[in-house]
Symmetry: C2
Subunit: 254 residues, 2 copies
């Protein structure tokens, strides 16, 4: 939501840190790092929708306009906070079979989202919107796909599969319900469940008891309250087995 007071305006841009004049030390009370830390804390607490610069400034004991000397926009703050969370997902992944490394990667990503669930609906889009990707992560992915036997165009496709697999399940699992009304939301979900027609949706009706509050679109608790652990294990299992089978099939065709 870009609301510009004056539509036509030169960009702000990051200030380049000039070396301090010797002796004259102007204590930099704010600084980009401190701002991003505080922004991440606020977003973790109330979600990106409710995040606003005036509260951030108050939290930092500073005038709202001060933020803009270090960061060009609210969006950049959200992206920056998301990037800070993303970085390091792929560090310290133990060597081993490519299957195990892939599983470790998926678990790492999910763990990161579990620590920052409010970011779940954003990370996918922010990941793309962020030119600052984690090169270590991508190198890991490419290497494990080489080990799996992919190459050339097939490796590119498999790479996209892995990235999508990384984001896919965890994002859905941890995206929270609308925080507006708690009980009202649960009631609406239960009402929908009760409306399932055993005649028109027989298969669904058969398994409704098992699915209730444990399945996407049929649950009201979020992934933070009720983790879908076995579902996530199934997810990694399907991805790994699928990549194995596809690699075999491609090798056979070649």
């Amino acid at each position: 939501m870009p609301k510009t007071a004056v539509p036509v305006k030169p960009r702000v841009g990051r200030p380049r840190k000039l070396p301090l004049a010797r002796g004259a030390a102007a204590a930099p009370v704010l600084g980009r790092e401190r701002i991003l830390d505080a922004a991440l804390a606020l977003i973790d607490a109330h979600g990106p929708q409710a995040f606003n610069i005036r509260e951030l400034a108050a939290q930092l004991g500073v005038a709202p306009a001060a933020i803009y000397w270090h960061v060009p926009s609210r969006n950049a703050l959200i992206s920056g906070a998301a990037a800070r969370v993303m970085n390091g997902v792929a560090d310290d992944i133990a060597p081993g079979r490519w299957q195990d490394r892939l599983r470790a990667l998926l678990h790492r990503y999910r763990g990161m989202l579990q620590r920052h669930p409010k970011l779940a609906p954003l990370v996918a889009s922010e990941m793309l919107g962020n030119a600052a990707f984690d090169a270590v992560l991508l190198d890991h992915v490419v290497r494990l796909l080489e080990d799996a036997g992919f190459d050339g165009a097939a490796l590119v496709d498999a790479y996209n599969v892995v990235i999508a697999a990384m984001c896919g399940f965890a994002t859905l699992e941890l995206s929270a319900a609308p925080a507006e009304d708690v009980g009202e939301w649960e009631a609406a979900c239960r009402a929908q469940l009760a409306r399932v027609d055993a005649v028109r949706q027989p298969a669904l009706a058969r398994h409704l008891g098992a699915l209730e509050n444990k399945a996407f679109l049929l649950r009201w608790s979020s992934g933070t309250d009720r983790p879908l652990g076995s579902g996530f294990d199934a997810w990694t299992d399907v991805i790994v087995r699928g990549l194995e089978a596809r690699a075999r099939a491609l090798r056979r065709a070649a």
Copy 2:
């Protein structure tokens, strides 16, 4: 971003359509349907971030406040528009092997997002946030999983896998880059690519040419301009093969 003028206020609620008094026909110029149509058109055009009620009202030739007689909030408008897009994804899926039906489902969902790419970053979260799920879709999913041999808790897990698979790839593929600056964005991406270190990220560097602008996190064109068709085919292939293999493994263990 709930900004309430008066924080404590009773809810608005949907108006119940009373039968018109005979003769006295007050032409209902607005109506929930017409509003949602216009809202969807605006969101398709400029994205959910830029969507605002005042423009919607202007588009409908009406005062902004008039909207609130039919719809309780801006969020409800976005959810409603998203729901309208979602509905019917699973209609007219041809009978056949469960593998083919699953593939058809994934293609349907992607096709829907391709027609409404601006909704891509939302649909996942709106799907969850929306108590009005598409029962036909869910019944389809459960039925094909029964046919694949899943049952009980394993079926619940597999169900979650299928839903995540449906949203996973297409959402990433069609989530657009920040619309702010076009060329600047591409330049930033290219700069990142150039910064990949052949020594520290050797595997990534080896395939960088093939990945450039064709892979998640390494592309600047969106899925609307450059569809990742072969990547999506790989995705469905991996999911189907993975589910096949998992079903076999579970059967063997039982």
